[in-house]
């Protein structure tokens, strides 16, 4: 590591949904961050590097923060159908964005609005049984993953499944893993003693049929075929038998991996499967997701507006529609006429096509300069804050590690809002 002013060894990380707080890194006097190379790639990518260019820009030209905020307020103030999207930031930023949306009559979506709504539609359809991460870590004897949990939680297997010490005395060698899906990360799901997970290799498009069959079998129903989506029914029956025989089974599904229409119906079938299994034993669900503080957006939206993201405020009243108020649809159809893009966690450029105010990390690459660019700080690095862990239970406290001068999303959004009239 280069000469560093300060080093930290228990840093909380907002760059995935697992909520780790064991990252080691060093911050040099000029704010450059060097992350322990053994750390998770998300932490290295998220924390590492220089502060970057903090200069706000209007149409690509340098501007003061005041000028940029005034221009942002002007664009949103003249828009007829403003869209606030991304929301990849801390809870305070998300709360401010939702309140701005209420104030100006905007539509509000999160980067992972599709996955959030797939899960919540299934929840509202029938419900399920679930567990938070520490329960899984301390109790699970069988973990069935549908879709790769390491996408949203890179250290899921290491921290939640192969942990040595558990409260119930269950040890890694007592645990079994089944992976369902394609292109799965098998190495991390392999037990410390070398046992490979059982893999059921199926295309995402076949998941609806397979999950429906599992739910049917668990209920004691019959499947009138020898095969489901090319898999022998015996394989599925065996999986149901293993789940039913587990003491504390886990079904971890990744809505983000269900890139097919009506994924909510498949998740609802998982709810049915869980209900059937719990008649006799304990099997819990874990909706794996929550990258980019998606759960923070979900919760803040529910407590502030009573409804989840994909909100539209009409005369101060919140409406929700998972299809109608999807940001990509509004942008694709040309219905949105201004975009407030918020990404303080990644360095992702906003979708092109409408006048855009980008609240983005320094170093974000833009194909064309946005109308307004306001570089913002990253929570847990440039300012304190909170993000929700992927199980929606633990709000992780994030610390300020350097003095970069970059403003927090919440401050910028509140300043924009203070310049704007209340929507008629």
């Amino acid at each position: 590591m280069p000469q560093a002013a300060r080093s930290f060894d228990r840093v909380a990380c907002p760059f995935c949904a697992l909520g780790c707080d064991d990252v080691r890194l060093a911050v040099s006097a000029d704010g450059f961050v060097t992350v322990d190379p053994q750390a998770c790639p998300h932490a290295i990518q998220g924390f590492g590097g220089p502060v970057g260019d903090a200069t706000p820009r209007i149409d690509g030209q340098p501007a003061t923060l005041d000028q940029a905020i005034a221009r942002a307020a002007a664009i949103l103030g003249t828009a007829r159908a403003p869209l606030i999207h991304g929301l990849a930031c801390d809870l305070a930023g998300q709360r401010a964005a939702i309140e701005l949306g209420r104030r100006i009559g905007a539509t509000v979506d999160h980067l992972h609005g599709a996955a959030i709504n797939a899960n919540l539609r299934a929840l509202a359809d029938g419900g399920w049984l679930a567990a938070s991460l520490a329960e899984i870590r301390n109790r699970a004897d069988l973990v069935v993953a549908i879709g790769d949990p390491t996408v949203a939680m890179p250290r899921f297997w290491q921290r939640c499944v192969w942990a040595g010490d558990t409260l119930t005395g269950i040890a890694p060698e007592d645990r079994q893993v089944v992976l369902i899906g394609q292109n799965l990360e098998v190495a991390a799901a392999t037990a410390p003693d070398g046992r490979k997970p059982a893999v059921i290799d199926v295309a995402p498009a076949d998941l609806p049929a397979i999950v429906a069959a599992l739910a049917t079998l668990a209920r004691g129903g019959r499947v009138f075929s020898d095969q489901v989506a090319g898999l022998p029914v015996a394989t599925l029956r065996d999986l149901v038998t293993r789940l039913a025989a587990s003491r504390y089974g886990v079904i971890a599904w990744s809505a983000g991996a269900m890139a097919f229409p009506h994924a909510d119906l498949t998740i609802a079938s998982l709810g049915e499967l869980l209900r059937a299994l719990n008649a006799k034993t304990r099997v819990v669900g874990l909706p794996v997701g929550g990258l980019d503080n998606a759960l923070g957006a979900q919760l803040a939206s529910l407590w502030l507006a009573g409804k989840p993201p994909r909100l539209r405020f009409v005369a101060g009243e919140a409406r929700h529609d998972a299809a109608l108020y999807a940001a990509d649809r509004l942008l694709g159809s040309g219905e949105a006429d201004a975009l407030l893009w918020i990404d303080a966690l990644g360095r992702r450029a906003p979708p092109a096509g409408v006048p855009t105010i980008a609240l983005a990390r320094p170093g974000t690459g833009f194909a064309t300069p946005p109308a307004v660019l306001i570089p913002v700080g990253t929570p847990g690095l440039d300012h304190a804050g909170h993000v929700l862990r992927g199980d929606a239970i633990v709000a992780l406290r994030l610390d300020r590690l350097r003095d970069s001068g970059l403003p927090a999303v919440a401050d910028v959004v509140e300043r924009i809002g203070s310049l704007m009239q209340v929507a008629a």
Binding site: D22, A124, E135, R137, L167, R282, Q298, W303, I393, A395
Partner: protein
């Protein structure tokens, strides 16, 4: 500082044994003594009106993970669980100035506080839930000294910024994680081997040692099961004279007699409560209509899931400290069981003699939503109205309740005790729930009305910390309330063990789990209430 005068109202202030027409003076957010000759800046004419301290709800599920899951589970029931903003406004418009979230899981405390900070106007507080946490059950298994356990409880209250401690189905939520479906009061739980009786007594003793003003808040074992009155009576015994607050007692006052094996045991329970001065209660009154039940008691909620209406529900095991279960429910007046639940709640209200030991709740939203309180007050104050309502319910339930024979009508003083003076005393809030000089100027002014529901649903004036926040049911301005908490003395040595425990078994460190005052925003005031001196 401007001086405000509330002139000529009938001041019903049972904490100060006052029920007279007199003026109230307010300066700088506090009630002050009359200052002869002082310039009065604002006069509110309260003649013909009733002046009370602001209402205090000591048990209302207003925030936290389970409430957001409830909002997500039932998007079609928008009226049942209002968003944070409306929660504060509706309480304030109804003359309430404080509500306490009774089921704050330590692991979810930070999120619950962040959410509560978005509830405008009213003050908030929360009880930390303990008694199903693996750490406590381990301490008990290791037969640790009661002082170490008190230190642990104190540490958790500090870490979660709690006003009290609640135990839900002692040990039962943990047992459900081990696939046990019921746990009797004297039954050893799985793995840790502790009985609900042991857990209850251990926590009650810890709070007594720490001098926490609010007694252990107890959600008894066997919620909702016909015949559970025996468990409840056993729980009163199990406290061994230590202070306990039995919450939503209606759900725990069931007999198993009659053709339908479901009967009222309210009379037996009320008799036991009347005889046990260490016991306070709130009722958890059922009000007919649609709601969603939200409880940490996964064991009970899983059992009751078959009654879900609409047919959907959720149970979650949470972070080795508890759980949550959500079951939508529709209480129907023509259903025998629901109707008798309604009658049992009213029987409890009317048969427990000492109003200082009873708090008015519906266990929002579990028995009904908090906006139904004015109707509940009328049911208690107006026998004619109550008898009419009784005549509307299921005929078999009418035959199974003694409600019609009870003549008692609550007085205004008694209602003031149930809804503000009593809860303030039970929570240890010395400057709330009364109207003597020095008290916070949280005040509700009601127009006298024969119809007590009309009287209590839209007070003429509501002041929060001296600011006029509502008038005739309409919000005048949105202020920010405070978070109320206690910080009992404890030996932080136990934190070493907690650090090791978190590092070994949890996914974050203890120091990150514990909240800091800096996490409350600059606008979020913390009101810290004193504990009694710690006892050895």
């Amino acid at each position: 500082m401007p001086l405000t005068l509330l002139q000529g109202g009938r001041v019903v202030d049972p904490a100060n044994k006052t029920n007279v027409v007199r003026d109230i003076h307010v300066r700088d957010g506090r009630i002050v003594a009359a200052e002869p000759g002082a310039k009065v800046d604002r006069v509110h004419d309260c003649r013909g009106m009733v002046v009370m301290a602001g209402g205090i709800d000591l048990h209302s599920h207003i925030a936290g993970g389970k409430m957001n899951l409830a909002r997500a589970l039932t998007p079609e029931q928008q009226g049942v669980i209002p968003p944070a903003g409306l929660t504060g406004l509706r309480y304030a418009a109804m003359g309430y100035t404080m509500a306490v979230e009774p089921a704050m899981l330590p692991s979810n405390a930070r999120q619950a506080h962040l959410e509560m900070a978005d509830i405008p106007i009213i003050d908030r507080g929360a009880y930390a839930m303990l008694g199903n946490d693996d750490f406590l059950l381990r301490l008990m298994l290791q037969k640790r000294d009661h002082r170490a356990i008190a230190d642990y409880v104190g540490c958790m209250m500090h870490a979660t910024r709690a006003l009290g401690v609640k135990v839900v189905n002692p040990g039962g939520i943990s047992a459900f994680k081990f696939n046990q479906r019921s746990l009797a009061l004297d039954e050893s739980g799985p793995f840790y081997g502790q009985t609900p009786r042991d857990v209850l007594l251990t926590l009650a003793r810890a709070l007594d040692t720490l001098g926490v003003p609010h007694p252990l808040h107890v959600h008894c074992s066997n919620l909702g099961i016909p015949g559970n009155a025996d468990t409840t009576l056993g729980t009163i015994q199990a406290a061994e004279g230590l202070p306990v607050h039995l919450t939503h007692l209606q759900f725990h006052s069931y007999g198993a007699e009659g053709d339908r094996r479901f009967s009222s045991a309210a009379a037996r329970i009320a008799e036991a409560v009347n005889g046990a001065k260490n016991v306070s209660i709130d009722v958890g009154q059922v009000m007919f209509g649609q709601t969603i039940t939200a409880s940490a008691d996964t064991m009970a909620q899983f059992r009751n899931a078959r009654f879900a209406s609409p047919a959907k529900w959720l149970c979650m095991d949470i972070e080795c400290d508890g759980g949550c279960g959500l079951v939508p429910f529709r209480y129907r007046s023509k259903d025998y069981v629901n109707a008798l639940q309604w009658a049992i709640g009213l029987e409890l209200f009317l048969l427990v003699e000492d109003p200082w030991r009873v708090a008015l709740t519906t266990d929002h939203p579990n028995g009904g939503i908090f906006t139904s309180y004015p109707r509940l007050i009328r049911l208690l104050m107006d026998k004619g109205f109550r008898d009419d309502a009784l005549g509307q319910i299921d005929k078999h339930a009418q035959a199974a309740t003694v409600l019609g024979s009870i003549k008692r009508e609550y007085t205004l003083e008694e209602i003031a005790i149930l809804t503000r003076a009593g809860p303030a005393r039970l929570l240890g809030l010395k400057d709330r729930g009364h109207l003597a000089p020095g008290a916070a100027a949280d005040i509700a002014v009601y127009r006298e009305h024969q119809n007590r529901e009309a009287m209590f649903e839209a007070p003429a004036l509501v002041f929060k910390d001296g600011v006029l926040v509502a008038k005739d049911g309409a919000i005048m301005t949105e202020t920010r309330g405070a978070t109320h908490l206690v910080r009992p003395d404890r030996d932080p040595a136990i934190e070493r063990e907690l650090r090791t425990y978190f590092d070994r078994y949890m996914l974050q460190s203890f120091d990150r789990f514990a909240m800091t005052d800096a996490e409350f925003g600059p606008e979020d005031r913390l009101a810290v209430h004193p504990c009694r001196p710690r006892v050895a």
